[in-house]
Amino acid sequence: MKIKQIQEDLVDEFAMFDDWMQRYEYMIDLGKSLPLIDNIYKTEDYLIKGCQSKVWIQAELIDNRIVFKADSDAIISKGIIAILIRVFSNQEPNEIIDANTEFIDEIGLKEHLSPNRANGLSSMVKQLKLYALAYQTKINNE
């Protein structure tokens, strides 16, 4: 599925809820289905800088698509990264680089888009895109 399509699906899913509490509960549930990374990757190298909670992201290139796995020590951060991984995992690097994240606002999680270092969503997106850029460079050089 294309990134745009997945984002639209997420917007539709979140539109079913009347209030923020239900949206947060759904996000927390999405976090529980996150493809978790192996404990061996929970090191400084895989840690996202700039989040108040710890978030680790690992990436692998399989058939020219990037597969992301992640984990966090905070439940809400885990929900956020789960949403991002649903959008960006199993996509080609170029598509990840070009994608925007306006859907976050549309699903009612606007407060997480602030550049306030406490919430780290922008750092997570940056890290996913950095992985995509690195793999795209690698593909171009091959």
Binding site: Y24, Q52, I75, A118
Partner: protein
């Protein structure tokens, strides 16, 4: 509340325009006062009045506006001199904040410290009272020693005494821990350090909002704070230094205001306090800070202290009713700050949920990672009260906290 203390909280709340606003559809409950306090209308009005009536650069102009601005700026200095009971108004230096003040003093000791001299800090320090000294040690070859804390978060005084010796040149300690709210025994620390001729700097950023400071009685060498913690604007710091030490240390920034004579061969510096106030200062901010300290004095720091103690005790007892809730920093000597965690729940998760319910708290390591390392936790949720908070707000917070715990468990 009128019966409990002399604080009339309903009336006081009318002084703070921001307390009327809503956040996420809820009435704002502001429990992040240790990070910055809110601003009363008289302080906001003084900034508007400055820019509307006498905005002008100080100290140099011969015209009326410059004279008025200079008088108001210097009047603020006298207010802080009186409030801190300093001997001279020139012992009060205006800076951009506590961090600037500490860096100014640290820079001043670059040429005074020698290799293998020792500096004593406490485990409770804010990063801004650790990093400048580390930078100083890197340059001078001096060494840092750390006063440890016990499981309650209190400094172990006997360990401090063991660290002192003839090599000890400087002692830095906060008056009140920003992360835990514990009031440190600074008078005892200052007197003991002075027996070894060590210079003492006290970071008072978390103390000045809650108590009267008497630098003469403390016999402290340097005392620093930021006025945005005491209902003033952001961007203004107050540095008190004993005349003797302010004369001994060199200027931090070079520029206008701080000079006596300038030629391309050599410049001579102005006397105190101008030597440390290079460039155009935050004139409106300093004037507004003077208005803020007047506001606190009118309410009365003793009244504030008593009322905040009521809030602290009430919130502490309500929090302790919650299962698995642990408070960090247990002491009889505390300001109205409570740092806690609930079971294994990440503080960030709780902070995010209560924010959705209109409550401002602070989560994380509070710029005091060494304390979090000691307790082996990623951070805490910190609530901190000001004299405009109420027990009713605490009740709403407790309900929100229970809701968050339910969602996150």
């Amino acid at each position: 509340m009128k019966n409990i203390t002399d604080i009339n909280v309903e009336e006081i709340r009318k002084d703070f325009p921001i307390l009327k606003r809503k956040v996420n559809g809820q009435n704002l409950i502001y429990f992040d006062n240790a990070a910055t306090s809110q601003t009363p209308k008289v302080v906001i009005d003084s900034i508007v009045s400055y820019y509307s009536n006498y905005n002008s650069n100080i100290h140099r102009g011969v015209h009326a506006l410059s004279q008025e601005a200079t008088d108001a700026y210097e009047n603020s200095r006298v207010k802080f001199q009186k409030h801190f009971n300093a001997n001279n108004s020139f012992e009060i230096i205006f800076t951009s904040g506590t961090t600037h003040s500490i860096n100014l003093v640290a820079n001043g000791f670059k040429k005074i410290l020698k290799r293998d001299d020792e500096i004593i800090l406490s485990q409770l320090e804010h990063h801004s009272n650790i990093v400048p000294w580390q930078m100083l040690c890197e340059e001078t070859g001096a060494k840092i020693k750390v006063i440890p804390i016990d499981h309650n978060g209190e400094l172990i005084f006997s360990e401090f005494e063991k660290l002192l010796n003839s090599k000890t040149k400087l002692v830095f300690v906060n008056h009140v821990s920003n992360a835990l709210g514990i009031i440190n025994p600074i008078k005892k620390i200052i007197d003991t350090a002075h027996k070894y001729n060590a210079v003492v700097l006290v970071d008072g950023a978390q103390a000045t909002p809650h108590m009267k400071i008497d630098v003469l009685e403390l016999d402290v060498d340097f005392y620093v704070t930021s006025t945005h913690k005491i209902c003033g604007p952001t961007g203004v710091g107050v540095l008190y230094g004993k005349e003797e030490w302010l004369n001994k240390i060199p200027p931090f920034l070079g520029g206008g205001e701080m000079i006596d004579q300038v030629t391309f061969e050599k410049s001579t510096y102005a006397g105190l306090p101008n030597k440390f106030e290079a460039g155009t200062p935050n004139i409106s901010g300093v004037i507004a800070s003077g208005v803020a300290i007047d506001y606190l004095i009118t309410i009365g720091l003793d009244n504030i202290n008593k009322y905040e103690k009521v809030l602290l005790d009430y919130a502490t007892s309500k929090l302790l009713e919650i299962q698995d809730l642990k408070i960090y920093g247990v002491s009889k000597e505390k300001t109205s700050v409570i740092s806690f965690n609930v079971g294994e729940i990440h503080p960030y998760d709780i902070g995010s949920i209560v924010d959705k319910l209109g409550i401002a708290t602070r989560t994380g390591h509070h710029c005091a990672q060494p304390i979090m390392d000691y307790f082996k936790i990623p951070g805490t949720i910190r609530i901190s009260f000001c004299f405009y908070n109420t027990t009713e707000e605490i009740d709403i917070f407790i309900k929100a906290l229970n809701k968050a715990i339910l969602m996150l468990s």
